[in-house]
Amino acid sequence: MEHKASIQPVEGGEVKLRNVTKQFGEDVAQTTVIQDCTFEVERGKFTVVIGPSGCGKTTLINVIAGYETPTSGEVVLDGATVSGPGPDRLVVFQETALFPWMTTLNNVMYGPVVQRDSQAADIEKKAHELIELVGLSEFSHKYPIQLSGGMQRRAELARALINNPRVLLMDEPFRGLDAMTRQLMQEYLLRLFEGSGRTILFVTSEIDEAILLADKLLVLSRAPTHVKATITVDLPRPRNLEMLTSRRYAELKSEALSILYQEAVSAFAAGSNAAADLVEAFEQRQSVQGKTDK
């Protein structure tokens, strides 16, 4: 999978969250999903957010993308407060959100076409280039239902990239793919973006995926969500799957896991069934570590 075209860097892309709080509902039914969340997505870096399932990661992405307005606090992109969705921050969705009634080509062309900022012929040319870049040239006239899971994710990537977003928001984009396809997609993503200078905010619940991709790893607390810890991932680039066996990787992983563990314990104490799985996972790991330390 070699590609001639490559991804050009863009201006800007620095995202700052300042004391963002998001609440839903009112009265007795009110819940706070995000509480006083402050962090920074550095320009040109790969920032990964990890947290226990159901902790409000998707809400966080929704707030940054502008689909939800924060109850208090603000999201700042390159100095300007975000006030709604826009093509400068594009989301690659968890379950694919390609429009099923459009072919791959039309899906990719959709952004520039509705923004009406360039000639139709230019748009189509550029769309074809990007489709080739993600390896889907033969599929440009197929509908999403006719593509495999991995292809759909790549088509969605192309649909986002054609708009030259300043930040790419990826919300568990590889969820639902099988282990093998997932690894292939991770490698693919690394090759595509390493050295491109693009700003990416990537959300995941898989620790291995998180460390493999990240420059900076943000560990979230359970709901109400805030950043519990920031870990700088200093593994060298370009990265490959073999790094998953390195010593530094193991250190980073256990650092992240111990933070996640505390969160899971408190979620479990609060009566969450999903957290039960996690607490057990960590307890197992602890006993393992205890033995190896001896």
Binding site: S148, L184, A250, N273, A274, E280, A281, K291
Partner: protein, 274 residues
């Protein structure tokens, strides 16, 4: 040690739609699993792993070859095999009846087969559920459980029937990595406790090595046996083995083979759709 449940698959072949598209799903696959052995099949999507499992379970018929259990011919192209409680299956997406409680789900097998009275079955079910850390969940509907809990209940349900062999079809696929590791350990614990023969299918190489006595790597379509590797790490295992040198050695030995097949499958998949 188990004396029952030795499974031999000899020259298994499966062709879908011989007149039309003629898809060869399995081509001359032979696997021998000793009684009480944990055998894991790894391979990319569409390599015929599930076809093989379905043939053993009795959901599907081979078009070639035969399946022998404990020296007895179970199935061959002319001999239709029916599903039964001697070969219990744990399904990819789970098959707990969502309209029943956990206890009912676990206890229903022996009751339906008239092997136990409801009281006995419920008692045994409670004991086994306790063993996998689910005491107190009996009265919940199975749809209310978390992913990891569901899988545990399902394995317990299978074991309740005292099968000769357990067939697991990518049972942990939908779980995240951490949850997966818990359920894997529970599975190993139950395996050490019951010593049933296990036939396990997965995509995930680490999972395969961690669990298996033997790892069988299959090629992408048509499914053939590419490599069989014996995992000689001692039991009982916990996740600490995943950091040992032997584990990493096995992983790199098998990793290359699997990566190659995965890529081939990936490209074949794209060609097929084009």
């Amino acid at each position: 040690m188990a004396t029952q449940g030795a499974l031999a698959i000899r020259h298994a072949g499966k062709i879908y739609d011989p007149e039309g598209v003629h898809v060869v799903a399995l081509d001359d696959v032979s696997v021998d699993i000793g009684a009480g052995e944990f055998c894991v099949i790894v391979g990319p999507s569409g390599c015929g792993k599930t076809t093989l499992l379905n043939a053993v379970a009795g959901f599907d018929q081979l078009t070639d070859g035969e399946i022998v259990m404990d020296e007895q011919l179970l199935a061959s192209p002319g001999r239709k095999l029916l599903p039964g409680p001697d070969r219990m299956v744990v399904f990819q997406h789970g098959a707990l009846f969502p309209w029943k409680t956990v206890l009912w789900n676990v206890a229903c097998g022996p009751i339906a087969q008239n092997r136990m009275t409801p009281t006995e079955a419920n008692e045994k079910a409670r004991e086994l559920l306790g063993r996998v850390g689910l005491a107190g969940a009996e009265k919940q509907y199975s749809g209310e459980l978390s992913g990891g809990q569901k899988r545990r209940v399902e394995i317990v349900r299978a074991l309740m029937n005292d099968p000769k062999i357990l067939l697991l079809d990518e049972p942990f696929r939908a779980l995240d990595a951490l949850t997966k590791s818990v359920v894997q350990e529970y599975l190993l614990e139950l395996y050490d406790y019951s010593r049933k023969t296990v036939f396990f299918i997965t995509h995930d190489l680490e999972e395969a090595i961690f669990l298996a006595d033997n790892v069988v790597v299959m090629t992408t379509r048509p499914g053939r046996v590419k490599k069989i590797v014996r995992v000689d790490m001692p039991r009982p295992r916990t996740h600490e083995v995943t950091t040992t040198d032997r584990f990493l050695q096995l992983k790199s030995e098998l990793g290359a083979a699997i990566h190659e097949e995965a890529l081939r499958a990936f490209e074949a998949g794209e060609r097929e759709l084009a």
